[in-house]
Every structure is written in C-alpha cells, then in structure tokens.
C-alpha cells in the first residue's frame, strides 16, 4: 500500500530572487549571480562555513538552497541523518568543466587546478549538502533536459514507501551561461501539503 506523500517545504533561488515556502526572502537586481549567492550566504545562513568559498558555483547554489530550506523547516538530527537527496539539472558540471579546461588550455602555462577539478562532477553538490548536514541517506543526480517532477517523485516515493527514509530532498540546480536557478522541495511521509505532480509543477512555474 502506498503511503501518502507531502511537500513539507520548498526553496528556490534565481539570479535575482530567493523564495522559501511562498515567501520572497530577498530580491536583488544590482548584483551578478555570483555576488548574489555570496550575499545569501552572508545574510541568510546562520553558520560559519569557510568551505563554502571553495565550492564551484553549482555547489554553492545547491548548498544555499538546502541550507535555507532546512533552516525553515523542522527536522530532528536523526531525520537529517536519514535524509535522501535526489537532484537534477540540464548542464551537469559544464560550467566548472569549462573553468578547468581553461586552466589546462595553454601548454606553456599548464597548471591544472586540483581545487577546480574536484568539482567537475554534478553530484558533488549533493556531497557538500550531505557533509554539512551529516546526511547518510540514499542519493542520486540526474541529467535531464528540463525539470522533471515525475522522474524525481518516482524515485522519492519508492524510498518513502519502502521506509528507507521519511524525508527526501528533491530538486533542480542549474548554473550555466551566467544564469543560475534552483528549486528544492522536501517530500515527506509525515506532514505538509499533499504532494501531486500538478502541485509541484505549479510551485515551480510560479517562481
């Protein structure tokens, strides 16, 4: 028998706006997206986490979206430990792959950067979230042409229905060509707004 699935919370960040649970937390039209992400870290994350500055832009976006979402929902430490994470995007780590390529492009100035290289995988952002919140649940990262709620919820509902976890952080995190967009939502089998693909797509479209 299938358990009922709920949307417990959501958070989205674009180049100019951050929205969490129907509330616009900040809007900024003057900054480029990199500076905007840094301002979110400084103003909305009540944590000193120097490693944030070492992350690539996609991981920063994933880290911040998860940070703000989890700050605005109630979860016990045990629930965080069991949290599963399923993310997706279109461009994988292309933005960072390009940075790395630039560091090895010139044969006469060939100094590959280890710090950039470690971020040339899209799922590293999930790793950063797991390290920060001490989460050991199942995780996966999908590359899809566009946000696909059905794909994410199929996997998430399997995890929830088989009692692998009570909470799954799902979403989209894309950085490419000077634009960033994220949309994370927490699916739960205990509380929240009743989940449907229609509901989640409506929230996504409204951002």
């Amino acid at each position: 028998m299938k358990n009922t699935v709920y949307i417990k919370a959501y958070c989205a960040i674009t180049n100019t706006k951050m929205v969490c649970n129907d509330e616009v937390l900040c809007e900024e039209n003057e900054l480029d997206y990199k500076s905007f992400l840094k301002s979110i870290y400084k103003n909305y994350c009540e944590v000193s986490y120097p490693k944030f500055f070492k992350m690539d832009e996609a991981s920063k976006l994933a880290f911040l979206t998860a940070e703000v979402l989890l700050k605005n929902t109630s979860m016990t430490e045990n629930e965080k430990e069991d949290l599963a994470i399923i993310l997706s995007n279109k461009s994988a780590s292309l933005n960072t792959d390009r940075d790395y390529q630039n560091s090895i492009q010139d044969k006469n100035n060939f100094y590959p950067s280890p710090a950039i290289f470690v971020y040339t995988l899209p799922n590293i952002g999930i790793g950063e979230i797991c390290i920060r919140h001490k989460s050991y649940g199942e995780n996966a990262f999908y590359i899809t042409e566009k946000f696909d709620a059905n794909l994410l919820s199929t996997y998430a509902q399997t995890l929830l229905n088989t009692n692998k976890t009570n909470n799954v952080l799902c979403g989209w995190v894309e950085v490419e060509k000077g634009k960033c967009s994220s949309f994370f939502y927490l699916l739960s089998n205990t509380e929240g707004e009743l989940y449907s693909e229609k509901n989640i797509n409506e929230i996504y479209q409204s951002i």
Binding site: P50, F53, P114, A115, V118
Partner: protein
C-alpha cells in the same frame, strides 16, 4: 624575507579562497594545516601547484610538503633556498 612572507599570505588567501581571512589574521608561525588555518588535502595540492607556478619549485615527493607547508615562516625559508624564478 618579510616581503616574501606577505606575498605568500596574499597568495594563499587568494589561491585557496580563504575569503574570511586577511593577511593580518595569518601569523608567520601559524600552522597552515590542522588547528591553524584548517587547510585540507586539496589545499595542499593547490599549494604544490602554486610553488611550481610562482616560484619554479617542483615537489617530487609529496611527503616533503608535510614539513615545507608547516607555516608561512617555514615555507618562505624553503622558497628562498630553492626558487628558480
């Protein structure tokens, strides 16, 4: 030597993205790893690249780094004795 130590502090902060720090926060004898600046293994690799790129020093034995990267003071002394550019 003082100029080199200042340059090293600036480079370390920039190369390793230590945005919360200024050169005034880094003492010459602060431990770069462990309880000092809290650098990690990827940072160590970046420092090895920095030695090669900026000072023409190639570390062939990674275990050498353990001693060389002890502090800015030790690193500056090593660079002064071994730099090729």
């Amino acid at each position: 030597m003082e100029a080199l130590k200042k340059e090293l502090k600036e480079n370390i902060i920039e190369v390793l993205n230590l945005e919360d720090l200024t050169i005034e926060d880094v003492n010459d004898d602060d431990a770069l790893f462990g309880d000092g600046l809290g650098l990690d293994s990827i940072d160590a690799l970046e420092l090895i690249v920095m030695l090669d790129k900026d000072y023409g020093i190639k570390l062939t034995d990674p275990s050498e780094g353990r001693e060389i990267f002890k502090s800015v003071e030790v690193l500056a002394t090593y660079i002064t004795e071994n730099r090729t550019k």
